[in-house]
Symmetry: C2
């Protein structure tokens, strides 16, 4: 039907006849001549329609925005002064010989170049929205990224193996999406939250290296930027130690960024222990573009007269961190109030600070703050030394339970870093976080929970800590962060049944419960399971970062809203009573339904 | 952890030290020496353990079947007379220096080389089953096939775009799998039966060429070889005419077979109209390896005294077909009885036949059959001429409604062809079936139904038949068959809203119903939808054929049984009442549940 894509027509084709198909992006009349910018997925081409071919000209006159056209014409150089350097075909235009209207178009619900469209309008008319050049580029980028992942993994001997979508519900972690069975009344499949167990089974089955770019499902309350269904690059390998996996995976990410973005990421990626990351950045996905760091000062504040600090410094699980803002003495009262409000989101009950007027005077003259008079000189000296404060700086403090301090000051660090430009200038800063703890202690339920998942292997030499001191037991788990977002994470898995049993014991999972939930994995471990480990990357997030998109919804062709709805197809929807009967289920009573609405 | 895969160790490595990881496939003691066949996904390597290294030898003595091992040793040539030409590493063996038992194994539920395992045992212990070399090969083949599809489509400018898994239920065609919504009480998502509508939307959105290797779902009664979830290579393109799509798609299939099987399929594939395929083979997926053909003889049987024939010949919708079996006069009574029973499966109420003793005598001497005396000479002459019968042949007849005759004699043709070796000797016989009818008439419901789907475009020039004679209206639909199985099918779609409305009218789908079910597609067609069409291939079926597998379950890592169960994970299963409450559903009453069991 055509000879070229619009975006491919260039000065090398001058003098040739081409046939193009696409959409009327813009039409304008100028001096009795009609110009049509014809658009396809590769770009725009300018079509010139002279009135001396009446039939063609009549067609051109009928053309409106988004009409679908086929055009035949001769490529020629644009007249001097009309070259458009912004588009690939900007040096040429096509003198139209024939124009066929393949399909007319009603007036679109919005212009493609309209900015500030509401997201709900865009999602309702997603098909038109996807025609916008930005969305075309984002979907191309997503495709190229997935392809780059595949190429690297194919070349590295990883096999793409499909795991089931209709699988078993295991009431762990996030909520499952359930699928009622018609054949087995009262029973349900679950959509996978990840192929975790299946990929481990594939390793036990001897496939050695596995990957899959696969949909996963979590029926969670949709925070900021989550989707009910999301796409994971899922990877697992046998006979590789933790360091080998991490090295190979960062080669993978470097290759993907090189191929898709023409960006060379650092080699190697820095590696930080979880402990160090929390100490210095208050985060296990630190944004290393930001130059600011936290420092610990609790140890010198145990005996100060400022009660808030002394109290935290003397209680287990507390942290007092200082964040130096170079030149921050110029921050306005309003800015500091805004930061105080901001850390409140993370549970901080205040935001103490010291303005460093003169670093040589460790008193209320040199250091301006209501708290200074309640801190002794040893403390002030340590604070100034550890933060490296200079005259003209400002030092913020967080003092609370470690989690609150880390969340609050970690977020403040990133916010100030970007607002006040304390950036190292690198566009991409990847970092591995390693040596995660095996377990978190859930204070409410008074029990240990798995930080990663219950199949994660303890570090070599940490096996006995499982019994003696689970809180100090570290895991062979690793997360990759980029610019403060988590790209992916994984772990070396437990391959020995007796280790798995010990871990279940710490987690309070009894034999019977373990058998019921994970029996098929435990069973498989019995038959010579190989050492293995792996990782999963979040494709949506990676592509969104590459595209500079605000939301992962902008890199998904047909996303759901934050209320888990598809505005285009109007899913979910009501179904026939007959369908429910076949599935052996019924709706709960109306009154109950209405009560539940409020909970959504 | 290792230097090579077991299957890669060969005579080029003689003298070198290698480190291998894998499983003890076999262990045997011979003259004080222990031999271990070490297996990984690439093959076997023979490990020789001499008693002069006591520590290593002790490990070797502890080894049992399926222990997971790491072995270090030197590659050497096997002694003369012990070379194994059947395996890649058969010229060499590894003299073991060190052996580490990475993991012990309980006695496996079955030996890996055990034949005649029941499928349910295999599926229960799928992880062990997948270790069998045959299954390893099948999964490799599946991976290579999917990769070959991707490579061709990538190179041809098709973009992989993901469509939603949680989508809208449309009570059309097969039964949907439903997913209750937690956020929207009483509403349900459906798992996609195919991304049909979404891929059309992507064309309207201007992506031009799309593909996806994607899971689809149908909650159907699981006939012979179906799965609740199956994998489709889904393809759609804009601005391509029917012939261009068909040509490109057969290039795709040729490329896949070339890359994966090193097989060169015919170029071009033969193309048969639906009508001709039914006439000659009684099937729209004819097995062209079989040399036998049906011929129509109803027109010469209208006035014969054999009532069965005359009755069918004079009723509309009837067919009388003859199938000549060369040399078939030697078929035994028992064989013919078996064939008669066989056609009964397809609804045929008998299987008339004539033995051709002497083709020159068109009477009860030359032609042996109780029906001959009730057929006049004109009929007999036509039958002999049209079938090309020779002395010594046998001619079977089917006389009934067309569908019954086609199903019965079509199947008989294939059965006899393979049993009696009327084969052309080609291992692969692809064929396009084109020019399908747009509509079938459903006699029970007295209405037209879509043969392909309601979005299929009528042939050029057939538009007015939509109103005047829908039964004669042909579609731009095409199916690809290989060796009698359907590999895939597709169509050019309707891109003009007014044509879509006309088709809905024939199907008795009113405006309101159309808007409710397909509103988002109809809406999209309004905005300059491009001409477009596509196709979907069944990946499971293609790989099963390539692997020579009896069932698609043999080329799926974790399949469901024919009762839609996963015997490995025991899915589907019961779930907590709490989960159901969150989803605003409840189970139907127990008694009702039990009644329904029988229907599964």
């Amino acid at each position: 039907m055509r000879t070229h894509y619009c975006g491919q027509v260039n000065s090398q084709l001058i003098g040739q006849e081409v046939r193009l198909c696409g959409w009327a992006h813009r039409r304008r009349d100028h001096g009795g001549v009609i110009f049509v910018d014809l658009r396809d997925r590769e770009g725009l081409a300018q079509i010139v329609c002279d009135p001396d071919r009446p039939e063609m000209f009549a067609a051109a006159e009928a053309v409106r925005s988004e009409f679908c056209l086929r055009v035949t014409g001769k490529v020629r150089a644009r007249p001097e002064g009309t070259v458009n350097p912004n588009i690939a075909s900007g040096e040429v235009e096509i003198l139209c010989h024939a124009m066929e209207i393949l399909n007319a178009s009603a007036t679109p619900p919005f212009q493609l170049d309209e900015e500030n469209l509401s997201e709900s309008i865009r999602l309702q008319h997603r098909v038109i929205d996807l025609r916008r050049p930005q969305m075309q580029k984002s979907m191309q980028l997503r495709y190229q990224t997935a392809r780059a992942f595949r190429r690297f993994l194919d070349d590295a001997g990883f096999m793409d193996i499909e795991t089931p979508m209709l699988t078993k519900s295991t009431p762990e972690g996030a909520r499952d999406y359930l699928v009622p069975s018609r054949v087995h009344p009262g029973q349900f499949f679950a959509l996978p939250q990840s192929p975790q167990l299946f990929k481990q089974l594939l390793m036990v089955a001897g496939f050695d290296r596995y990957y899959q770019i696969v949909k996963c499902f979590r029926d969670e309350d949709l925070r900021a930027d989550r989707q009910p269904e999301f796409t994971q690059v899922d990877i697992e390998a046998s006979f590789m130690a933790e360091g080998e996996i991490v090295t190979l995976m960062e080669e993978l990410i470097r290759a993907v960024f090189r191929e898709v973005m023409a960006v060379e990421l650092p080699n190697p990626f820095p590696r930080l222990s979880y402990g160090e990351a929390m100490d210095r950045y208050g985060s296990d996905k630190p944004d290393l573009r930001v130059n600011l760091e936290l420092v610990e000062v609790a140890d010198v504040l145990k005996d100060v007269s400022f009660k808030v600090f002394a109290g935290v410094a003397n209680s287990p699980g507390g942290r007092i961190a200082a964040l130096r803002v170079p030149g921050g003495a110029t921050l306005t009262r309003g800015e500091i109030d805004a930061y105080t409000q901001f850390v409140g989101i993370y549970g901080a009950r205040g935001l103490a600070y010291i303005k460093v007027n003169d670093v040589t005077q460790l008193n209320e003259t040199g250091l301006q703050s209501p708290i200074v008079k309640n801190l002794h000189e040893v403390a002030l000296k340590a604070i100034v030394e550890r933060t490296g404060a200079q005259s003209g700086d400002l030092i913020f403090f967080g003092a609370d339970k470690s989690k609150v301090v880390n969340d609050a000051l970690g977020a403040l660090r990133v916010r100030i870093g970007h607002e006040k430009n304390f950036l190292n200038g690198n566009p991409w800063e990847p970092v591995w976080i390693v040596d995660f703890p095996m377990f978190d202690f859930d204070e409410t339920e008074r029990r240990w929970t798995a930080c990663h998942h219950p199949f994660t292997s303890p570090k070599d030499g940490h096996l006995e800590l499982l019994q003696s001191d689970p809180g100090r037991c570290l895991a062979k788990a690793y997360d990759l962060a980029l610019n403060g977002s988590e790209l992916g994470g994984g772990s070396v898995r437990i391959h020995q049944p007796e280790v798995q049993e010990s871990v279940f014991k710490v987690l309070g999972i009894g034999d019977e419960e373990a058998q019921l939930k994970f029996g098929f994995l435990l069973d498989a471990l019995k038959y010579g399971a190989p050492p293995h480990g792996g990782l999963a990357f979040g494709l949506d997030r990676i592509v969104a970062m590459m595209a500079g998109a605000e939301s992962i919804r902008d890199v998904i062709a047909f996303p759901k809203t934050q209320r888990a709805q598809c505005l285009l197809t109007d899913a979910p929807n009501s179904v026939d009573e007959k369908q429910l009967r076949e599935l052996h289920i019924r709706l709960r009573q109306k009154v109950e339904t209405q009560v539940e609405v409020g909970k959504g």
